[in-house]
Symmetry: C3
Subunit: 206 residues, 3 copies
Amino acid sequence: MRLRLTPRDTTYFDLFTELAGHIVTGTGLLAELLGADRVERKAIADRFVEAEHAADDAAHAITKRLNQTFVTPFDRDDIYALANALDDVVDAMEEACDLIVLYKLAELPARVSAVVQVLQRCAELTAEAMPRLRTMEELSSYWVEIHRLENQADKLHRQLVAELFDNATDAIALIKLKEVVDVLEEACDGFERVATLVETIALKES
Amino acid sequence: MRLRLTPRDTTYFDLFTELAGHIVTGTGLLAELLGADRVERKAIADRFVEAEHAADDAAHAITKRLNQTFVTPFDRDDIYALANALDDVVDAMEEACDLIVLYKLAELPARVSAVVQVLQRCAELTAEAMPRLRTMEELSSYWVEIHRLENQADKLHRQLVAELFDNATDAIALIKLKEVVDVLEEACDGFERVATLVETIALKES
Amino acid sequence: MRLRLTPRDTTYFDLFTELAGHIVTGTGLLAELLGADRVERKAIADRFVEAEHAADDAAHAITKRLNQTFVTPFDRDDIYALANALDDVVDAMEEACDLIVLYKLAELPARVSAVVQVLQRCAELTAEAMPRLRTMEELSSYWVEIHRLENQADKLHRQLVAELFDNATDAIALIKLKEVVDVLEEACDGFERVATLVETIALKES
């Protein structure tokens, strides 16, 4: 535990909460995209890009603040790493949206929706956890649940990939679908990295 | 060189040695997997998962210790980075095992076994080097040899990929094999990152 | 702003400038490679490997210096990260050269040349910016322009990928081309990471 010379700067918590809120919006749009037809998809992907820009702005505000202030509520490097880790989740999801549109994918296997539901739950839990960084209390239930969800998503991903290859007749269609599925798995790994960072920060502060 | 206020904490060396030991077990299982038929593979992959869990536990013990102690035998960030780098090697190898089972691969080209032999040698050298972190002596022969082995694996990998494409008739089979081969190359790069970290640590301490 | 006990060490700036110079050479060779026939390509790729070794030597000189000196012109971790980020750009470009030769690619789509032209411009801007790290002046025009170029390359990349899939009849040919195109995009992302690091360093020092 470090000595604190000034009151904790609360703005970081607000910015992290805001950033995580844009991720919740993003996972909602991703779920919407899966149910949409090809015509509607473009508009949904555009809304995702807006959410991504808002998330970028929040991440950038964190970094800027970090470079201009001496006193931070917890380790500078951890703040920087947490902002980046949240940003990586947004980027992976944005890539998934973009690929679904770009590849003009016809219909996605049902298990893809199951993976996106796990992502939605991860996003909600993450957004609920961010304000709790202020007191560092009740965070362990969050990271335990994220690890459980990541495990579940990992199993779904392996089943999905096996399914894709078992049913594959068109290699080009397979390449497209596999890339989307792998990027969704990256997003899920990203949520786990965020949770691991939160765990590390909480341990240091305890 | 930094002043040391208390005796060096030896447990880190023990934990790194233990972690590297699980990697030796893992590369052995990977070699076994290549020689096994599809029925035996599942059981070998399950034993790999056990080795991976043991490695995770050792890495987690290092991180936990790091977050709870003030005095570390060398730079905190380097300890953290080294634990992570060793963990990444395990993860890459686990992914290779998993893909071989998941993709129900028939037979793997002979050069794949050559790559795995290089991985086995890297694992042994790494496990032998870990206890030497205590005195920081006789480490240069280790990292020089790892760089040489990584170069050798890189050449094998390029030959393998060229061979896969030259002989490819079935694109779906190619995708499967290429993914396995690329993940094995990642594992090899991982050993090199571990060696580079050890080199950095040794230079700082000298 | 930190107190400075001794004059700034200028050698880091020289080494960064040298390293970026090798990247300029590399992007030039990459452009040459695209215009060459299969016979000439091998010789050009070999010259790229020479440029890569020279870049590695400069990066290694930076790391070595860092591990042996107390006083650095800016944050140690940032120097290390910047050297690594520049090295990653070289590695991505080397991989692109290598794949073009290894895959015996016939002809590359015109948009690939457009991407490489963006990389050449990024390399020139980066090389011009490195000496300006000394005074930290006139750097913002550099990172603003790199972000703009990365955006442009990203759009080109998405068009290229869509084009590859729309025209694809041979899945194996598609896999080869897509890998080259993705690695070029990685190189471009690498330039952006360099610019973001420079921005972070400049903000800290201001």
